[in-house]
Structures are given as C-alpha cells and as structure tokens.
C-alpha cells in the first residue's frame, strides 16, 4: 500500500511538471491554431539558461526563473515576429515546416555551442520531503507546487483580466474579436511570447530533476503532445489532468513492469482516450475549432 501511494504521488508530482511544460503548447495552439514544433527546443534553451545561471552565476535554479522566464518571453516574441507571423496567412504546412526547421536549427546550434554532453546541476535541497511514511525528492514537490500556483494564476488571468478576456474572445471568434477593437496580431504575439515564457518556467523547474543536452526537447515534446491531446487541445486544466494521468501511468508501469516500458503504457492510455473520448478528457466537441473553452 505504501509503495502504491508512493508511486501514485510521485506520478502526480512529475505529471504536474510535465503539464507545466505543456501549458505553453496548448495555449499557443488554442489561440493561434498552430502547433509549435520547436516547443521542445524552447524547453532545451530554457534548461541551458537555468543551467548557466546556476553553474556560472551560482544562483539557485528557482531564482534563475527571474531571468529565464522574461528572456524566454522575449525569445518567443522574436520567434513570433521573424518566423511565425510571416507564415500565418500562408497555407498551414508553412508554419509546420517553419517551426520544424527552427527545431532542427536550434538542436544543431546547441550541439555546436554546448557539445553533445549532458549537463546537470547539484541538488538544490539536501533532504527529501516526507509525507507520512512516504519520501519524495524536494525538487519534485516544489515543481508540483509551482505548477499548481501557475495554473491557478493563469486560469484567473484568463477569466478576469481584460487581456485574458481578449485572449478567450480571440479563441472563440477571431474575426468578431477584431470587430470589437481587439488588436488580434498583438494578442498572438503576447500569447506566443507568454507560452514561451511558460516553457522557460518549466525549464527552471525541470533543471534540478533532469540533465540538459541538445536533443533533450525530443524526449519531452512527445510527452507534451500526448498531454495536450489527452487533456483536450487548448484546455489548460485539461493539460494539468492529462499531465497527471501520464505521470501516474509512467510511474506505475516503470515500477510494476519495467522502466523501459513507461512510455509504451502512456501511449496505450493515449490510444484508449482517443478511441473513447476523441476530444480529450476535458476537451469539448470540436475543441480544435474552439480552443480554450474553460
């Protein structure tokens, strides 16, 4: 029983961190209706940033957020202006190939600058967190808490601020949003940059748990895609639930079956959801057309 509790809770914690890494992807998809195939490389860039701040400047990786998050916001804004925005009014494949090209470019640039070596940072906390008889890496619990706070703040902002309402309006009817005086291209820019900043945040949370290398994004972006589709494309709370499902399945199957099969089992879960709830767990019918509905 203790083992099961341990596994489920670790699954929830790691799953929430996966969700944090996926929220930017789902947000950008919901608003711009594009998939950023360089999402994993944005994560990689953020992780190198967090690594550099920690190793070179001696900062705590959680403090590195103060620099990495705004830097990723600017980077996202730049990518939007130079690559995404010019491709938006062209056929949909143009954006697909443009972001894929960016992904390959970033991987190779990282390989050139940083080599293929794995970099990591020393543990942030000296001891584990105990919940009753259960032990958890403190970094995992901190990541979970940050994710929950971040999701709540984001949901609140989308619901209650003028900018949040404008984003939701753009999702529901882009043209009507323009007719109400919303500068939609600006909303796109802010969303893309904001989504990138969220990946930066996820990178700082993940750096104490994982190593960074040029193709680290590939490992995680697959999980992110599964989570986004699982939770319902464009849904933020869906991403959180999707992430937690993936985390639990991965955690249980790694222990009870074999670590190598972890990925296989969450793809089985993914297929089951696709068969029985094709719009995702929290997705509405036609979520791909409507986007963030919650």
């Amino acid at each position: 029983m203790t083992t099961l509790g341990q596994l489920v809770l670790s699954g929830i914690f790691i799953g929430a961190i996966y969700a944090l890494m996926s929220i930017g992807l789902t947000l950008i998809f919901g608003v711009l209706r594009i998939v950023n195939f360089a999402h994993g490389e944005f994560l990689m860039l953020g992780m190198y940033g967090a690594w550099a701040m920690t190793r070179l400047l001696g900062l705590n990786p959680y403090l590195a957020m103060i620099a990495v998050v705004p830097a990723m916001f600017l980077f996202g804004g730049l990518v939007y202006r130079l690559i995404v925005s010019p491709a938006l009014d062209k056929p949909h494949l143009v954006v697909v190939f443009a972001t894929m090209g960016l992904s390959i470019f970033m991987q190779n640039a990282a390989l050139m600058l940083m080599s293929a070596d794995l970099f990591d940072i020393p543990p942030v906390f000296g001891h584990a967190v105990t919940i009753g008889p259960l032990y958890f890496k403190a970094e995992l619990v901190v990541g979970f808490v940050i994710t929950v706070i971040c999701t709540l703040v984001l949901q609140w902002a989308l619901k209650s601020t003028y900018l949040g309402k404008a984003i939701r309006a753009t999702v529901q009817d882009r043209e009507a949003a323009m007719l109400m005086g919303i500068p939609v291209p600006r909303i796109f820019l802010i969303t893309f940059a904001g989504g990138s900043a969220l990946v930066g945040l996820a990178a700082c949370v993940m750096m104490p748990l994982f190593s960074v290398f040029p193709t680290v994004g590939l490992n995680f972006v697959l999980i992110a895609f599964v989570i986004v589709v699982l939770g319902g494309m464009g849904s933020i709370s869906g991403a959180l639930i999707g992430g937690i499902c993936v985390g639990i399945v991965q955690s249980l199957s790694s222990y009870y079956v074999a670590p190598a099969f972890g990925q296989m089992f969450f793809f089985i879960l993914f297929l089951l959801v696709m068969i029985f709830r094709p719009n995702g767990l929290l997705g509405q019918k036609g979520a791909a057309d409507i986007g963030i509905a919650d």
Partner: protein, 234 residues
C-alpha cells in the same frame, strides 16, 4: 460623418464592388438594400477593414481610414455588428459586453456605458450571467448590438440584424434603431426586410451587382418603381 469615394473591393480575385460612393451625414439612419449577392456584406466588411482588399477612399470624420486595421477603425468609432451576430458563445453576456469596450477610450467609460446599455436593453441585465451561446436568436442580436454600443460607436454598421428573428424581435429591433438616433449614433443598416428599413431610414442606397444604382430618402424609394426592378427583378 462617413464618406466613401469610388470604392472597389475584391474577395480574393473576385471583383465585387465597382466604384461605390456613399455619403452619410451625422445622426442619420441610412439603409442599404439590394438583392442577394449584390455586394452589401462586402461593402460592410470593407468599411470595417476585414476580409476584402480595397481601392478607393473611406473617410470617417474627415480622416482617411482606408489603410487602417480593423481595431483602429473601431477605436475611432466605426463599429460593425456582423451578419449572424458572431457573439463569443462560451462567454457570459456580461463578458461579451465587456469585450465590446476593449478599446482604451471605450474602456475608461465601460461602467457608465454598461448602465446605459442595460437601460436600453433591460433583458440583457437579466441574462448577464448566462452564456451567450445559450440565448435565443433575438436575445443574441440584442447582445450583439449591446456589445457594439459598448465600443462607443459614432457610426454603427448593422449587417442583416433581423435575419432569422421572430417578428416580435424585428419590431423591437427597429424601435431600438430609432432610439439610437436620440443617442446621436449614425447607423448604416443592411437589410432584407426592405419595407421596414425604408420606413425607418432617412436615406437609402440600392446596390445592384456591386454598383449603387439608386439613392434617395427612404420613403421616396419605397414608392419608386425602379426599386422594384432593381430589387425584385420585375
């Protein structure tokens, strides 16, 4: 208030409007009628700065706006209530109205405008927490007009506002349009309901195959034989 001079508009490669000129005086209610596919909605979208590519001049209060993006035109007081209302279906009535006041000038006055809109359209106040998508067609049209009023329009463009509405709402809507005159809002309305619109409008234009073929006071056009020819093809 709104001057259109020699406007040509294209939908992709299709040349829809040919040298359309209009002149709309402040405070007037102006009707735009014509058969299906005459280019009425194209003209409305061109004025709003959406969908079409245009050549020609559009001036709002003597300022050239033809090169401005849609949101800049809204900020200057030119607001379109599009065909089929286009509310934000997963937002409440209240949120739809708040979004209407997105432009900075309108936002500063949003609280007051909201009170005025609720006075003008009391049913909206009762429905404020309901999702817009759950309302009846007539109620949705009222929200759409309320939302546009939140933007503090000087010129309100209404594209087929009575389409698909119950007769009681058609009547209500024309009463509402008449009361907008008292607020000093200039109205350009595209309407299939030709009898209603020509009785309400101070002036009207008849559009045929992308060209203005007739213009005059609403009542005069109502009795004009040529209108029957242009509109009904008799």
């Amino acid at each position: 208030m709104l001057e259109v001079e020699n406007l040509d508009a294209f939908y992709g490669q299709i040349h829809v409007l040919h040298g359309v000129s209009l002149s709309i005086k402040a405070g007037d209610i102006v009707g735009l009628v014509g058969a299906n596919a005459a280019g009425k909605s194209t003209l409305m979208y061109s004025l709003a700065g959406l969908r079409t590519t245009c050549a020609g001049k559009i001036r709002l209060k003597n300022e050239a706006i033809e090169d401005m993006p849609t949101h800049e035109r809204v900020r200057r007081g030119l607001v379109l209530v599009p065909e089929r209302r286009r509310l934000f279906p997963f937002m409440t009535v209240l949120e739809n109205l708040q979004i209407g006041a997105y432009s900075d000038g309108a936002r500063a006055l949003a609280h007051q405008t909201m009170r005025e809109v609720f006075e003008l359209l009391p049913t909206l106040s009762e429905r404020r927490t309901q999702l817009a998508g759950s309302l009846s067609g007539g109620e949705q049209q009222m929200v759409a007009i309320g939302r546009a009023l939140m933007a503090k329009p000087q010129v309100l463009l209404l594209d087929e506002p009575t389409e698909g509405l119950a007769p009681i709402y058609v009547k209500l809507l024309f009463e509402l349009i008449t009361s907008l005159r008292a607020l000093g809002i200039t109205v350009l309305i595209v309407e299939q309901n030709i009898h209603h619109v020509l009785q309400t409008a101070d002036r009207a234009y008849v559009l045929e195959n992308g060209r203005i073929v007739l213009e005059g006071s609403g009542r005069a056009l109502l009795n004009d034989e040529r209108l029957k020819v242009a509109y009904l093809g008799l």
